[in-house]
Symmetry: C2
Subunit: 338 residues, 2 copies
């Protein structure tokens, strides 16, 4: 099946919208009776919505899954062109990501991973361009690693223990209440603090790494959140490489997401409608009514909304969402990736 | 409640069998009709059996959980005497243990952990006694760590990459087929191989660490399994400390295990019987019949047996278990802990 998301280009066809993906669901709906009341309506078929829909269906609830796109997976999905899996969004997984790994184990996909690092073809060096010199600096990956380890350790070493003392539990950010003081600090603030200790190339490489991770700017990237990443990665640079950018699915992210959908469908309790962007959610008299932009209405006893922050403000909620959530959706994601 | 497992001693009472534990289930059975046929019978109320019973009950199946002891948790359980949590078996958890951590997240217990390491009271040094010298060697923890890092890295460095090349996927042991050659190698074999590179104290400390981990002997400890541990711990000594012996539940393991039991019970589909060691399992004509040592019989459509290897040979199975399983249960666990 071809998703209308994404683009492909060949000399023959030129630029064409849409790429093949096993994440496209066909037919795009299996709803037989749209007047029924579902136990749960789940909005969004990314991993969050897929997990919610699956778990609810397994627990015996009748579920309606509504998705604006023609496919599952949200920002994490893949195409496959001529046998090569192209990742269009989220790519990497690791057993140090416990909630993801549990699902990989569930679907017996632990041996369906491969490494991203194959320098046998293509560029096999690290090139640093600071714009301050005419010539860029070319270095080996070992030199690159050494530079990054040095820079990153200076960045995170707020406690003499590489962040272990300030954030001893990676999943309990404020276990040490002293961590709160970094909640309002940007990476720019922190780099300014340690600027005197950073050599020019070290600083440039460090900043590039942070920007690559956050897809924001140094001013909009939270230093606390960076410490959080660092803690989740075992407080080492090698851990960051391992957890963040090493292991991917041979068959792409969509080969993983489809398992959630298939399991939910297998319960016989999943109704779904793709190509269905929603307009409003009204929670009244113990019943939730969802209306799509094209005017269809669906009723549920509960609703789980997994719509990303950046499109949440296209939906009308009654009663209104709380003030903090409205403020967040008006700000949108810091992440600048397109 | 007091479990008949374990012992406590006070000057007043002397040695008394049994300790208090929230893992003791009272009443010891909730079976109303023992003549019914359950969808699943689960034998054993350790974490494995608890998880199976819970997931089956959530999925809508009627479950019978049968356990020989008076409590849940199997080898991982805890007492609490005068407010101090005593661990009687399994103790430590970490977010790098994905399947365990997923359950910790499920029960919102991520902030109910504390660190084992508190050297502010009691012994604060490492003492090495090799028996070869009259005086034992006392060293700081930093010296101990340096010695262990050096020794362990020599042990696992079979590939010039600290085991990363031979076992690149910690949960897919034989991803690199070359790992098979270590499947028949004991830690003793491997230490003999590298003996010339090990200083006497280094070797003694390394051997002590391996023995502590395996609770076996160097001859009965699999080198492949040690590499597996090492890979699971992120291929570093610090990772081993973090994942194996640092973080424990403030309320003890039983505060965790009880959540599984309570969730299963909450479905209304869990029947259970404690104090019920079993005698036989007969799988005939599409029905499984389980008989307890005291002569009660229970029928099920399926049976999940989580009985540990060391007591599996006390149960009669018809049809018989396969030959390899029989060979394994006759060997028993290498682990020598009592």
């Amino acid at each position: 099946m071809t998703s209308r998301d994404g683009y492909q280009w060949t000399p023959k066809t030129g630029l064409v919208q849409g790429v093949p993906s096993i994440g496209v669901i066909s037919p795009c709906s299996n709803i037989k009776d749209s007047n029924r009341t579902w136990d749960v309506i789940v909005v969004g078929a990314g991993y969050c919505g897929l997990t919610a829909a699956r778990d609810a269906a397994i627990a015996g609830l009748n579920v309606l899954l509504i998705e604006a796109r023609d496919r599952i997976g949200g920002r994490s999905w893949s195409s496959n062109i001529d046998g090569y899996p192209f990742e269009m969004g989220g790519t990497w997984v690791h057993w140090g990501q416990p909630h993801v790994w549990r699902e990989i184990s569930r679907y017996q996909m632990r041996n369906e991973l491969e490494s991203s690092f194959d320098f046998s073809r293509g560029v096999n060096h690290f090139q640093l361009r600071t714009g301050e010199e005419e010539e860029s600096r070319i270095m080996s990956h070992a030199e690159e690693d050494a530079l990054l380890i040095s820079g990153l350790e200076k960045l995170v070493n707020v406690d003499g223990e590489m962040g272990r003392k300030i954030m001893p539990y990676a999943h309990d950010t404020f276990h040490n209440p002293d961590a709160r003081k970094y909640d309002t600090m940007s990476v720019r603030d922190r780099i300014n603090e340690i600027a005197a200790t950073l050599a020019p190339h070290e600083r440039a490489t460090l900043e590039a790494f942070v920007l690559l991770c956050s897809c924001g700017t140094l001013e909009t990237t939270s230093f606390l959140e960076f410490l959080h990443w660092w803690a989740l990665c075992g407080y080492t640079y090698r851990g960051c490489l391992d957890l963040l950018i090493t292991h991917k699915f041979k068959g792409g992210q969509s080969s993983f997401a489809i398992k959630f959908f298939q399991e939910a469908l297998g319960t016989g309790r999943l109704s779904y409608a793709f190509n269905s962007p929603i307009k409003s959610v009204v929670d009244e008299d113990g019943k939730v009514t969802l209306t799509t932009r094209d005017g269809r209405s669906f009723g549920g006893r509960r609703l789980i909304c997994t719509v990303p922050l950046n499109v949440l403000n296209t939906i009308s909620f009654h009663p209104a969402l709380d003030e903090k959530r409205i403020a967040a959706m008006n700000t949108g994601h810091v992440n600048q990736c397109v």
